[in-house]
Amino acid sequence: MKRRSWPLLSILVFGYAFLYVPILLLILYSFNESRLVTVWSGFSLKWYGELLHNRQLLDAAWLSVRIAALNASVAVVLGTLAANALVRHGRFRGRTGLELLLTAPLVMPDVIIGLSLLLLFVTLQQTVGWPDGRGFSTITIAHITFSLAYVAVVVRSRLARMDVSLEEAAMDLGARPLTVYLRITLPLIAPALLSGWLLAFTLSLDDLVIASFVSGPGATTLPMVIYSSVRMGVSPQINALATLVVALVAVAVVIAGLSMRRR
């Protein structure tokens, strides 16, 4: 029998409470019948119902999901290529530069990324006429620029831990480099690709700052809608929506965790 250490246990409970009580409260109040967010008056699903009829919120959610999915897919491809170059190609010219470029988005404040991208898009529009106005495409591009850095980090560590002799063995057995990559390398780093995709998806889904800089009229992402509506007072609909988002993210995190644990 293990002896319980009460001080440690209480610190643990406090830690979990600190992290999860706000979220649990939010989920609880999404089932609240009252219009007031802070007063409990009974269980109800009516806010979920109303949410289904709120076109503005639903459109924003759909836009966010589309941006997040496209962003994650492109970021996984680019991030994997970058990770491959860094792990498998030794000391090529421009390696230090690539490494710096990949680390920059991880440490740069969102405000600066957003502002610099906004300046870039505006200049581009004035000089080459593209992008024609800001919206879906500019937000997606902005998200890809920082998401791919996160993907590269995840994929890179997986690649670095992979035994190179596996690829050598495949080549020794007659597989050409492309076959080696498709049949050996990709399946072995697949868990990292999946968690990289999910990470990029969530990063994009909850980004408010960068999106606010580079979006234009008519392209309002979910975090932007939530943020602006909260300023006018929290509607229980937001709680319902947030609950759905939390559920989605939780599922994604569980999938990513499971796939990383699988060898």
């Binding site: 002799s165 596996l166 050598e168 020794d172």
Partner: protein
């Protein structure tokens, strides 16, 4: 009883008419400024079990990787079965390798692992299935065929790796420390199995090892490597009995080295004035000039206790027993001479230990015969 294949009168490496199966010509591989393989020339014959033996960093693994095509040489050529393969990429070479880590694909079953190489050759499904069955049988791993590598023990993985690299019937099988990851008991059994397998298949094996015992038991010939160069290539017996230099003599087993100077030649024997004060008479076929400084190398088990003191005193050492290491079957005696030299003698324990003649601090005279060692010049 398994019958050994007929031993030809001449081994292939002694037959001047035999064409080498693998011909390595002046091969050099540099990593930056470091010569990993330094101007190595080497012939390996069909059906040989050839070992590259050396301590870590001596270049033996690099030489193996050059044969596999996983590294390309800085200069020099490699021919396999008459074809120059120096610039052929690894996936087109008729060579397969068993990796030290086994490198089994973790996302595939045993069967799929073996199948991988056959698939690359685009063999028809029937033939692939046959070959897989043949390999599973050969290595007695049929019950494991649906398992994944992480569900196998170390010994089982070794068998799967061997099956996978043999499945394509390579002209040359390269083995990188094939027994390195196994525990001692398993290693000894596997040594014999590996030799049996090789004799049955007739495939040419080239193995890399740092374990001299392993190389001695398994190989038809051994190449001793040091600092990227080959010091000696010979059969295990010849390497042990007739090392060609001090390095090889000391690398394999233990050895007594007595320095001296040649004073006289008598037929196929030379008389050597030893630094420890006496005279040595040794057989030597090398044309040493009088006065050449030499070293006489004698294995401890070739030493014996001198029963009849007196005579001419040649090939004899007198000293005091300083140390006895009792190993059960044999005992190792260390004898310190008056001049401070330490000589080692191994005696088989024919009598129970309590009745043995020699004991600590006892005066002893040891001797050896002129044919029991070699005369080295470096």
């Amino acid at each position: 009883m398994s019958s050994l294949p007929d031993r030809r009168l001449l081994e292939s490496w002694q037959d001047p008419k035999a064409a080498p199966y693998v011909r390595i010509e002046r091969l050099t591989k540099k990593f930056g400024d470091v010569y990993a393989v330094d101007d190595v020339s080497l012939n390996i014959f069909q059906g040989e079990f050839f070992s590259l033996l050396g301590s870590s960093g001596c270049g033996k693994s690099t030489l193996l990787r050059l044969l596999a095509g996983l590294e390309y040489p800085t200069s020099g050529r490699i021919h396999i079965d008459g074809v120059d393969v120096t610039d052929v990429p690894p996936y087109s070479r008729p060579v397969n390798m068993m990796f030290q880590s086994y490198a089994l694909f973790p996302h595939m079953t045993v069967e799929q692992n073996i199948d991988f190489g056959l698939r690359q050759d685009r063999l028809p499904r029937r033939e692939r299935a046959e070959r897989i069955g043949e390999m599973l049988d050969l290595l007695k791993i049929t019950p494991l065929r649906k398992r994944r590598p992480d569900q196998l023990s170390g010994g089982q993985r070794q068998r799967v790796a061997l099956a996978r690299s043999l499945a394509k019937h390579p002209k040359l099988l390269l083995l990188d420390e094939p027994l390195g990851a196994l525990d001692k008991r398993l290693r000894e059994n596997t040594q014999f199995e590996l030799v049996n397998l090789q004799e049955r298949l007739g495939t040419t094996f080239v193995t890399v090892t740092h374990d001299q015992e392993e190389a001695m038991t398994m190989s038809s010939r051994i190449a001793i490597m040091e600092a990227g160069q080959i010091m000696q290539i010979d059969t295990p017996t010849a390497i042990y009995e007739f090392p060609n230099c001090r390095f090889v003599a000391e690398f394999i087993g233990s050895v007594n080295l007595f320095e001296g100077k040649i004073v006289e030649r008598q037929g196929d024997q030379v008389l050597i004035e030893a630094q420890f004060g006496g005279l040595m008479r040794m057989r030597s076929f090398q044309p040493h000039a009088i006065g050449t400084p030499v070293m006489v190398a004698i294995r401890p088990e070739k030493m014996r206790l001198c029963e009849t003191p007196g005579g001419d005193g040649v090939n004899r050492l007198q000293g005091i027993v300083e140390d006895i290491a009792y190993l059960g079957d044999v005992s190792i005696y260390r004898i310190r001479t008056g001049s401070g030299l330490l000589a080692e003698m191994t005696l088989t324990n024919i009598q129970p230990r309590t009745e043995q003649a020699l004991t600590w601090e006892q005066e002893a005279v040891i001797e050896w015969s002129p044919t029991s060692g070699v005369v080295l010049t470096e």
